[in-house]
């Protein structure tokens, strides 16, 4: 029983159809029964300048993280692909165009730079596309055909993916793409004798539920739709814009609307307004936009109004690196904004959790009458994973608002201090439950009040309320075999996948290592975390930020300093880096 773990890159210049090819490849391999984890990187500019790389990892088991070693490189532009050579394994397969339109120098040809163990397969992509369709535009599809032949993936999986993508564009375009793929498949099948790996022989797990490929953005969108979302207010910002785009198509079909606001301040304002009026609403943004929202977020905290905010983190600070990933908004999400403004912050670690937590955030927001921030990151938002089709149960989308009962009618106190800290919430328009809501400190009745005792007890109430959310928040999950561990790795967001892969790898080697997944960033389950930390000699917290923001938040729970692995490369954390750090700690 051979196990498959194949990382395929397609690299080209923008305009080569690299991203489209990557998408088709992922769909096809998913359709063939493999698990997929894929991530594209492309330049900020639109055309002609800049390198596009699609990175896909395929396997027969669930893929937790991207690999930092590539097995197959499909080069649509040799000059750009040269940069990918350092990532190739020793006997990697490189599929390249051996009939470029003009002669190239040593510098420009990828064949001149690969190591001798690398297996080169040259095909005339452009010529074959021209032969099949009259134009060279289909060369990316020709390359896919070559890949399919070399790795013996049945063409029908690609045909299905091509039809799905291109049928809406008309017979002519669909036909041209199919012909290009077929020609490449036919040519490679005849020309190349070697078959580096037969993917057809991988047995598909029987009786599996249907797996789909979803990106984080799509999962977040589905989670919101499943929660019955009707209103979205937002402002475009990379990488959250697709959420708004998907909802702009989906909400009107459900009687809802997307409204593009003039900026992020009015976006959060509108969300608060909507929830205040009893209607679920959402906004999604990234670091720079989130920063604009913080004052109104604290307004939501003070006036105890629910809100759901998706912060899709990207590399900062300021405008930063719009198309690169980072995990550096944790501090802003937990503490951003004036005053003691505790709110709920949760962070999914994969695409399935993107759906689950977005869905759940509406209930948490309603029950705890607070803004809930869902912290995802660029990598998570844009990557594509094989996952089962998310489905929401009725219980998952129910309204968790605690409404006032009849006994307080006509003498309703909006901010009555209770044991849980949650004050039953009336919705404007409920007859007999008039109340005042304000961003000023206020009495239980909602009337502005600045007296020392009041401020103290209201602050305490609000904090107690948020701490109470721990019972409804997903607790940290441990992955360990041994009671006592030499190293415990604690990670959050998309970095957790890499951490788990590293830990599982270490466990296979017999090392006493474990992992703890943290998804509730605030409030955090201090006892659970401390219990785990006590089992470990060393604690390692890898994060994609410079200061170690999670480390700073929970590190004090450990008896001594936690070890940190901080990276600000703009790229996802490689599992190998975590593994390497584990080894140094042993």
């Amino acid at each position: 029983m051979s196990s498959v773990d194949l990382t395929v890159e397609i690299c080209g210049m923008s305009g080569d159809g690299t991203i489209a090819a990557g998408g088709l490849l992922n769909e096809a391999m998913s359709g063939a029964g493999l698990s997929v984890l894929a991530f594209d990187s492309y330049p900020a500019e639109i055309r002609g300048f800049g390198r596009c790389v699609t990175l896909s990892r395929f396997g027969d088991e669930e893929m937790l993280a991207l690999s930092d070693k590539t097995h197959v490189l499909i080069s649509l532009d040799d000059k750009e692909s040269r940069s990918r050579i350092p990532y190739l394994v020793k006997d990697a397969v490189v599929l390249y165009d051996n009939r470029p339109p003009s002669y190239v120098t040593e510098d420009q040809a990828i064949a001149a730079h690969v190591d001798p163990g690398v297996r080169l397969f040259g095909m005339p992509f452009g010529d074959l596309a021209a032969e099949a369709t009259g134009s060279t535009r289909g060369r990316n599809l020709v390359a896919l055909g070559g890949f399919a032949a070399l790795f013996e993936v049945a063409p029908q999986f690609f045909h299905e993916a091509i039809k799905k993508k291109f049928a809406p564009k008309g017979e002519k375009i669909l036909g041209a793409n199919l012909k290009s793929f077929d020609r490449g498949y036919q040519y490679a099948g005849k020309k190349f004798e070697e078959r580096p790996l037969n993917l057809l022989s991988i047995p598909k797990a029987a009786g599996e539920e249907k797996r789909v490929l979803l990106s984080g953005n799509v999962a977040i969108t589905r989670g919101a739709l499943d929660a019955g979302l009707k209103l979205y207010f937002g402002y475009p910002i990379t990488p959250a814009t697709p959420i708004m785009e998907y909802l702009a198509k989906a909400l009107p079909e459900r009687g809802g609307r997307v409204m593009q606001m003039e900026d992020e301040i009015s976006s959060i304002g509108a969300v608060l307004g909507s929830f205040f009026a009893g209607q679920r609403a959402m906004t999604a943004t990234s670091g720079p936009g989130f920063a604009l929202m913080t004052e109104l977020i604290t307004h939501g905290v003070m006036a105890e109004i629910p809100a759901v905010i998706i912060d899709a983190q990207r590399a900062g600070p300021a405008t930063g690196l719009p198309t690169k990933t980072e995990q550096s908004d944790l501090q802003a999400a937990v503490f951003g904004g004036p005053g003691d403004s505790a709110r709920i912050v949760i962070a999914p670690t994969n695409v399935a959790e993107c759906h689950e937590y977005t869905l759940k955030s509406f209930q948490l927001a309603e029950k705890y009458q607070t803004p809930v921030i869902v912290l995802s990151d660029f990598f998570l938002n844009n990557r594509v994973e094989s996952t089962s089709m998310p489905r929401a149960s009725d219980g998952e989308i129910a309204d968790w608002t605690l409404y006032p009962d009849g006994s307080v009618k006509d003498h309703y106190l909006r901010y009555r201090i209770t044991e849980s800290g949650i004050s039953p919430r009336a919705i404007p328009g409920m007859d007999g439950y008039l109340f005042n809501a304000t961003g000023l400190e206020h009495t239980e009745g909602g009337i502005p009040d600045y007296s020392p005792a009041n401020h103290t007890k209201m602050t305490e109430k609000r904090h107690r309320k948020i701490q109470g959310a721990l019972q409804d928040l997903p607790p940290p999950k441990a992955f360990s075999r041994d009671e006592g561990m030499d190293v415990g790795v604690i990670a959050w967001g998309s970095t957790f996948g890499s951490a788990l892969e590293a830990v599982l790898g270490a466990q296979k080697k017999g090392l006493k290592v474990g992992a703890l997944k943290i998804t509730s960033i605030f409030p955090y389950h201090a006892e659970v975390i401390r219990t785990f930390m006590d089992r470990c000699k060393e604690i390692l917290i890898p994060e994609l930020n410079y200061e170690g923001q999670l480390s700073n938040l929970i590190g004090h729970l450990h008896g001594k300093d936690v070890a940190r692995l901080n990276r600000v490369t703009g790229l996802p954390m490689p599992a190998s880096a975590i593994y390497g750090k584990i080894e140094t700690l042993l």
């Binding site: 390249y96 165009d97 051996n98 009939r99 470029p100 003009s102 002669y103 190239v104 120098t105 040593e106 420009q108 040809a109 064949a111 001149a112 190591d115 001798p116 163990g117 690398v118 297996r119 080169l120 040259g122 004798e193």
Partner: protein, 338 residues
């Protein structure tokens, strides 16, 4: 980038040795070794042993693939030179890449020769030149019991020996052309024929072939001199002809092989040819000769490298080793034990 660049075309025993020798003489110069095959240098004379299962594949390689990087030799595998301009000192690779050089050693070796009248049957015959060929032999031999060998060059004799050890039934169709470019005599055929018959090999000496056909999945049929002979596979061993079609019209003097002087120089400064693809006039035998055999190739590769880096070694082989088959040093031992 106006530094020196030595390019060697071909990573057989000659090219491989040439690269190594250049590096020994010059630790700095940029060396690129371009090979059409993948992997490190393979020693083809060991193929019969591989086919007979006596050695593993790893034993074929002259050195591990890391050896090139360790010596700073850029080995480019799976790539083919398709054009050369010795005047402008530039060559073209199959994927339209232009490479400039200051020094060049052409060591492309030979390809199996199929006499023109038999060209139309080419696809029905197995040759033995590359590792891929050897693997094809291994595969086919696992399915069949009998082999017909046509031709009669040195590799065929070595292979016949290996096949006999494997217990295969062998028919040998001698062709006087087979030892080309060497000139051999009838007495030799008789002697070889006798020895073969003693071992149970059926020998058909020197009869013209009318046709070859694939009768079934298991059998090929060859019609020779009014008779039909069947075998599980047919091997073509008509010697090697220098693999230099890509050099046609480039300005090098070409006959069967690349014509070079006794220092292996082609007449263009810094451009040498060596190994099986070079055709050299030997003043002692007073005729042109083309090298055959592993040891000769290695020696010639070394000589070319010396001369490219300022030496003046003559490529003069000891008489007996090339004049008559009987005396060929490299193969005498196994041949006599036959």
């Amino acid at each position: 980038m106006s530094e020196e660049h030595v390019v060697i075309i071909g990573n057989g025993p000659a090219g491989n040795q040439a690269a190594m020798s250049i590096r020994e003489n010059d630790p700095e110069v940029r060396i690129t070794l371009i090979s059409r095959e993948s992997g490190a240098c393979c020693r083809p004379h060991l193929f019969p042993d591989l086919i007979a299962g006596k050695i593993p594949e790893e034993a074929l390689y002259a050195c591990p693939i890391d050896a090139y990087q360790e010596r700073g030799i850029k080995l480019r595998t799976g790539q083919e030179v398709v054009r050369l301009n010795p005047e402008e000192r530039v060559l073209m690779l199959e994927h339209k890449e232009v490479v400039r050089f200051t020094g060049l050693i052409i060591a492309v070796g030979g390809r199996p020769r199929i006499p023109e009248p038999l060209l139309v049957f080419q696809d029905l015959m197995f040759t033995l030149k590359t590792l891929r060929d050897a693997k094809a032999w291994v595969k086919r031999l696992s399915e069949v019991e009998s082999v017909l060998i046509m031709g009669g060059d040195l590799p065929s004799l070595a292979l016949t020996k290996a096949l006999l050890e494997m217990g295969k039934k062998i028919t040998f169709l001698f062709n006087e052309d087979a030892f080309w470019p060497l000139r051999c005599d009838d007495a030799l055929f008789e002697e070889v024929g006798e020895r073969f018959s003693l071992k149970g090999v059926e020998v058909l000496a020197n009869r013209p072939v009318k046709s070859i056909a694939r009768k079934s999945e298991e059998t090929y049929e060859i019609e020779v001199d009014g008779r039909k002979v069947e075998a599980g596979m047919i091997g073509a061993f008509f010697g090697l002809v220098p693999d230099i079609r890509f050099l046609a019209g480039c300005g090098l003097r070409i006959d069967r092989g690349i014509l070079v002087d006794e220092f292996l120089n082609t007449g263009f400064e810094g451009v040498y040819a060596t190994g099986d693809c070079a055709q050299i006039y030997h003043p002692e035998i007073r005729d042109y000769w083309v090298s055959i055999g592993h040891d000769n190739a290695v020696a010639l590769g070394h000589i070319a490298a010396q001369n490219l880096t300022g030496g003046k070694m003559q490529a003069v082989m000891p008489l007996e080793s090339i004049f008559e088959v009987k005396g060929i040093k490299v193969n005498t031992s196994w041949w006599m034990e036959f």
